[in-house]
Amino acid sequence: MAKKRKKYSARTGAKAVAAQSPEQREERALQALAAGQYRDAINTLKALLKDDAASERTPERRRALAEAYAGRAHALSAKGMLKEALAIWENRAALGPEIPLALDHSLLSLRLGDAEPLMRLWLQADALPRDERSRLAEQLAAAVLSGADALLERLAPDDPLRRHAEPARAALASYCSADDAALESALAEIPFRSPYRSWALLLKALTRVEAEPAAAREMLARIQDDSPFAPLRRAAELALLNETDFLAAISEAGPQQLAFAAALRRWSPQQLELARALAPIGDDAAGRELMLRLLTRHRDLLGVDWVRRASLRLLPPIANPWDRRPAQWKTLSPAEAALVEAWNAELHHSDFSGWDPIDAWEAVAEAMIAEPGSKTDPEQKLAIAQVFRRFDACFNVLAADAPPDDDPDSIQSIAADHLERSLRWDPGHRDTYIRLITWYRCIDQLKDARRLLALAQKRWPQDMTVLEAAMEVALASNAFKKAAGIARQMLAIDPINSSVRRRLVDAHIQHAAKQLHKGRDDLAHKELADARSWTERGTGLDAIRHQLALLDGLVVLALGNRDEGRAILSALLEGSNEGVAGQIELILATNRLGLRQSEIAQWLGLKRSKVRDRDDLLRVIELLRGNLERTNTFTRGMMDRLAALLKGAPWKQLERDELELACETLRAYKLNSIRGEAARIGLKRWPRMPMLEYHEFESRYIDGGFPSPSELGKMELALERAEAAGETRAAERLRRLMQQYMPIRPSFFDDPWDGDDGPAPFANDDDEAEFPFDALSDLLHRMPLKQVLEMTGMPKPLIKQVLKVARDEGDEYAIEMLIDLIQKTATAARDQAPGSPPGPAAGGRRRSRTPADDPDDSHQLDLF
């Protein structure tokens, strides 16, 4: 129907046009021409010339038609429809001799292999404007260079096109054979005004592409876009792109352009083929698969070893150790397969994955050791050592501030064992010695620390880091004289090392405290005098000198002349004139000597004062923080005194960062009621700030008690806010806190193997679902016991109890006992749940306790 209607409409439209006067039709055609509607203009003008042939307007109408043909031909050329465009140009040329041959018609003919129209035009070129003549000459020059030699025969001998053709062709031949001297000489014969000028410029630019890319780029830019040499310019410009841009441009460039650019870049056809294949590859899994195949196909070009190494990194990820391995797996050596598994173990390691990075890296080391030459090849030996160091390097489990765990099955013990093994392969790795020495010192295995220290000192007797480690070990062994000797050795090497002086002073103070408790005030004074001798030189030691004076005064007060001691200390307190800060210093000094706070306060007749203002408070926090660097042992008396001094402190005068720091400090001193007070005041000013919420919450329950469900709900919200705000530290702490109070987290029972083909041992679709004992049992049998227990979020004391049972009775016994316990606990919980049918409480091994019965151990189950 629509077609019929259109046909009818067109017919009626033509009838309507035919009914118009010739003047109206001409005007309509000219309007279409002006609007670029060339097809309408052509149709109207053709019809008009036919219907009104006798009109005196015929020459104008013919010129308008010629213009419309030219417009249409240009439009078709722009669309790449060259043959159709040429047919339109030919229609234009057929309009009569008064329509001159268009230059673009000739150029298109030339492009399509017919130089004749251009030649005809050139022979009448004197009539053309200068610009068109130059353009025409350059086109003919390009035609000559592209192989249309026959044109030259028809030119006059003195025509520049003919005269300069020979040197232009010679220049090309010289360039292509890399004969730069001949090239220069040929180019010298091409004058500035020659039709081959752009050609000469192009060849000069090409010779500079490698050595002077900027100069080449500049010369190429002087070749115009409408020049017949522009395609060569564009190809040369491609060669000048950097690799990334060139790869991006490959998909847009034509094959000849690419071949030209590739040759300039010194690429072989195989390289070009590789680049063309790489250009469309994406950065997704499919892209990696394609890239892997591509590398295999081009391994000769890329080098077999390189392809092998690169291919390992293109293998698809393996989310779980039980997942199917990729097809290429069978081609890997045992060491390569182990390495790829270790990468995946690191990448996908989590509480819920089966990957264990430490086992995975151990497997890599063992596979590498089994390879031939592993014991003789120095590079391979270093590689094995690095693999053994990897776990600790990556997870930082032996960090000095990590909570030490000397359980032989603990991650830390295994990591330490790996480091020990690494030293067998790389005995010259100083940092590993230091790492292990520090670790052994922290867990009080001083014998091992000294064993490694002896080896390290033999290798690096003057190394400051080794000397520092030696001093720390000596101090930990109470070998003060030895420590002092090492310190002197260090100060001889580095006389301005303040940290050595501080550390020694601390050691002497510790020793002085011991002497004081033996009643040897003379020796205590001697230790303090020794300490003072280390502070005579060195900068930034004023505070230590002041503290030593306090300590001296305290020794006199405690064991010597009380009046004299009182006088010394009172003078020092008055001299400091720092409000409550002076008292804090005295409290800290008293604590360092292990004296009773109440007695000292009583002897000195100290009155309780309060923190006056912000400056006073900041000074107090600074003192407390400084003290944390020296000791983490605090007496109850000291904490009571500090709590009394800090109660009602002006917390609201602190800024947010200062308040957070204050809460951290109070946490370290276990001053939890003061911390809670500070956090609550902070929350009034900055409501819902996750870190302050954490401090407020933790300070309330850390000493006992159990939060209500609504409080736990608030903590969950705080955790969500911390995560949303990117406050990772606060989020991590809140998460741990939640784990502590909700040890069996829902997330553990969410399906961790959430996939179509994997098992779903913990599926928990409805409230009636049974506890997944089989899955837990499977995990307990498949993975290290401690790891599974930690995954469950079980409280640490309970984990310790289970591990103790495992050590005493064996893993199997412990696992059976644990499953039995959980079964009974779960049954009891279900039976007691609201809406559950009434019945007797199952199991007799779980004590029925409320949190209030045992606040410190509220979530501990009785195993025995």
Binding site: L232, A235, Q271
Partner: protein, 109 residues
Amino acid sequence: MTDPFLTLGIEPDAEDATVEAAYRAAIKRCPPERDAAAFQALREAYERVRTRDDRIAYRLFDTEPPAAIDIIRQAATHGSNADAADPAVSQAASRPTPALFAALLRGED
């Protein structure tokens, strides 16, 4: 992050001195005031493979898959090593042929 060996134009088994020489030559060719990004890439590449331990660690622990640009560079490096036997032939081969010039002049893209 692209392959540091390819960025510096050195072999994976290069010695410390070779790595340093390659780095110094590269930054001389590409000083920071000329191309800050390229200079930074060179600097990062050098830091990653400066010592033998660094190079072993890169081989063992770097899991970054090769980028297309790495593959192109490796093809260029490995290819140029193969061509290095005859530099004269290599230079002539690096120039487009007259046929390619003619094709582009005829408008064949």
